[in-house]
């Protein structure tokens, strides 16, 4: 298989003056190419830590991450990471914000700029190119943040509660938007969320984590008998509440 991400025996211990915190214990899983996988778990269990390790922001204490089953991830880490809020820079226009990732990665070239422009156009932001973030709505800002990440053409997309700062109404619309964009661009995605319905509505698999030190408790493949599934339409599917109950029970069982 091409482009899959394998975590093997990942363990993470934080050190600080008060002592050690074992956050993740022996996490092993392969994320397959093109799939959308959600990770849910009790708060403080180590979900963000997991994403930070994959993104290379935190070193793991032990274990290895492979890319394509063979190469260590460090040799070619091309990962897009979206945080809880958009963190757009107020003093840059939408266009300049979108180019930020490319600038930092020193990837600015006529091709990458053209790609960024095509993303802006495809997702209806071209006319806002020269506006400043303060002039956009919350949903639009989140879309700009996604395009900023996609512009660097990452192999894998990580979302850490990327919609939790939005109000409910906007959140439903933005997840629908973002889902379509991610599927259209064919990105492998790992999403951390507190919201079980959100995880069911977007994912191919939902991973339920245990309390700290965290490890995988259960994996639920999500499948709806319907064409053109979107986060909004699948909420009406009869299977939706069945999945909800299963995941809810798994989360709350000892």
């Amino acid at each position: 298989m091409h482009g899959c991400l394998s975590l093997e025996h990942i363990t993470k211990t934080y050190q600080d003056l008060n002592g050690e915190t074992l956050a993740i214990k022996d996490f092993t899983h392969t994320f397959e190419e093109g799939k959308f996988v959600s990770v849910v778990g009790p708060s403080g269990c180590g979900k963000s830590t997991l994403l930070s390790i994959i993104a290379g922001l935190e070193p793991q204490t032990s274990g290895v991450i492979f890319w394509d089953n063979s190469k260590p991830l460090e040799s070619n880490r091309n990962i897009g990471y979206m945080l809880q809020k958009d963190y757009l820079l107020d003093w840059r226009t939408v266009y300049k914000n979108v180019l930020l990732g490319l600038e930092i990665k020193k990837m600015l070239s006529p091709e990458t700029i053209a790609y960024a422009n095509s993303l802006l156009e495809k997702y209806d932001l071209l006319e806002f190119k020269d506006k400043y973030p303060s002039q956009l709505s919350g949903g639009m800002r989140q879309r700009v943040a996604l395009i900023r990440t996609l512009a660097t053409n990452p192999d894998i997309l990580l979302l850490d509660e990327a919609f939790s700062a939005l109000d409910y109404q906007t959140r439903l619309l933005v997840t629908d938007d973002v889902y379509k964009i991610i599927k259209a661009e064919g990105k492998t995605t790992i999403m951390v969320t507190h919201d079980i319905p959100e995880s069911i509505s977007m994912s191919d698999d939902v991973i339920v984590l245990s309390k700290r030190p965290t490890t995988i408790k259960q994996i639920y493949p999500i499948h709806f008998e319907m064409d053109n599934r979107t986060p909004l339409t699948c909420r009406d599917n009869p299977m939706f509440s069945t999945y909800f109950d299963r995941i809810w029970n798994a989360l709350n069982s000892e």
Binding site: A55, Y87, L89
Partner: protein
């Protein structure tokens, strides 16, 4: 029906606002006139001794005499020293703050020294500066620099270190190194801090310059004030103080104007 009765609520609101504003300005001007006229009157009637208190008419005469002599040179010298000290203090302070942001180790090591230097009244350094730098313009500029430097370092450093950590994390998700973190987020998000530092520094730099001129100089408004005091010419002292006040507020307002222009032309919220 009179026209007044037809005013809409909005028009009434605006009219009241305008009236309020006018009454503030009228009161301000009245106070000034009252002081000038009262002072002049008391001096004319010999109720106060204008040899000690001077008087508006004597100050005006002094001003005209100074203008035909070398007043402009004195103003120029003071302004030059202030601006040079201001620029040096701001630039050097910002550079040092950047360095301390870069190295938390250095920052922690130097923090108690900065606190001590910051709370030391800088006038106390006057004699040392004169001995080391020599009496004259360099000593005065050094004095102005000393007064604004530490404040700049402390303010800019605290601005740099309180930059939104999530914005920094966002940059790191793209693999930003330390220099990129500084130039793309830490420095730009502290432009408002810098603009406020500028506003404070122009005043501090002038304090340094006048102190310096009191101690060593042969030129400048500070020199005129000290000289006037020494030869007991209160006309000269008072006139110079008033001129200094005007010059200081012009410099300050120039910086405020600069701040407004920068804030408007970019999207920095203040």
């Amino acid at each position: 029906m009179t026209g007044k009765k037809n005013l809409s609520a909005r028009e009434k609101y605006l009219r009241d606002k305008k009236r309020y504003k006018i009454s503030v300005v009228v009161t301000q001007i009245s106070i000034l006139l009252f002081i000038i006229l009262g002072w002049e009157l008391l001096a004319q009637l010999n109720i106060i001794d204008s040899f000690i208190t001077s008087s508006p008419s004597r100050m005006f005469a002094t001003f005209k005499r100074m203008l035909s002599q070398d007043l402009m040179t004195h103003i120029g010298v003071t302004c030059l020293e202030t601006l040079v000290g201001f620029l040096l203090g701001t630039v050097a302070g910002t550079l040092i703050a950047s360095l301390l942001w870069w190295s938390p180790f250095l920052s922690e090591v130097f923090s108690p020294y900065l606190v001590v230097l910051g709370s030391l009244p800088k006038v106390a350094l006057g004699p040392i500066i004169i001995v080391w730098v020599g009496a004259g313009m360099p000593a005065i500029i050094t004095m102005a620099l000393m007064v604004s430097l530490i404040v700049t370092i402390l303010d800019m450093l605290s601005g740099f270190t309180s930059t939104d950590t999530n914005k920094i994390k966002m940059l790191k998700t793209f693999g930003a190194n330390k220099l990129q973190t500084f130039t793309k987020v830490v420095f730009p998000s502290n432009i408002p801090t810098l603009l406020n530092v500028l506003k404070v520094n122009i005043g501090l730099s002038m304090v340094g310059v006048i102190t310096g001129e009191f101690l060593v100089s042969k030129n400048g408004l500070g020199y005129l004030i000290v000289y006037g005091g020494q030869v007991f010419q209160l006309d000269l002292v008072m006139t110079s103080v008033v001129i200094l006040g005007i010059v200081a507020s012009i410099l300050y307002n120039a910086v405020v104007l600069l701040q407004k222009v920068i804030c408007k032309s970019s999207k920095w919220q203040n």
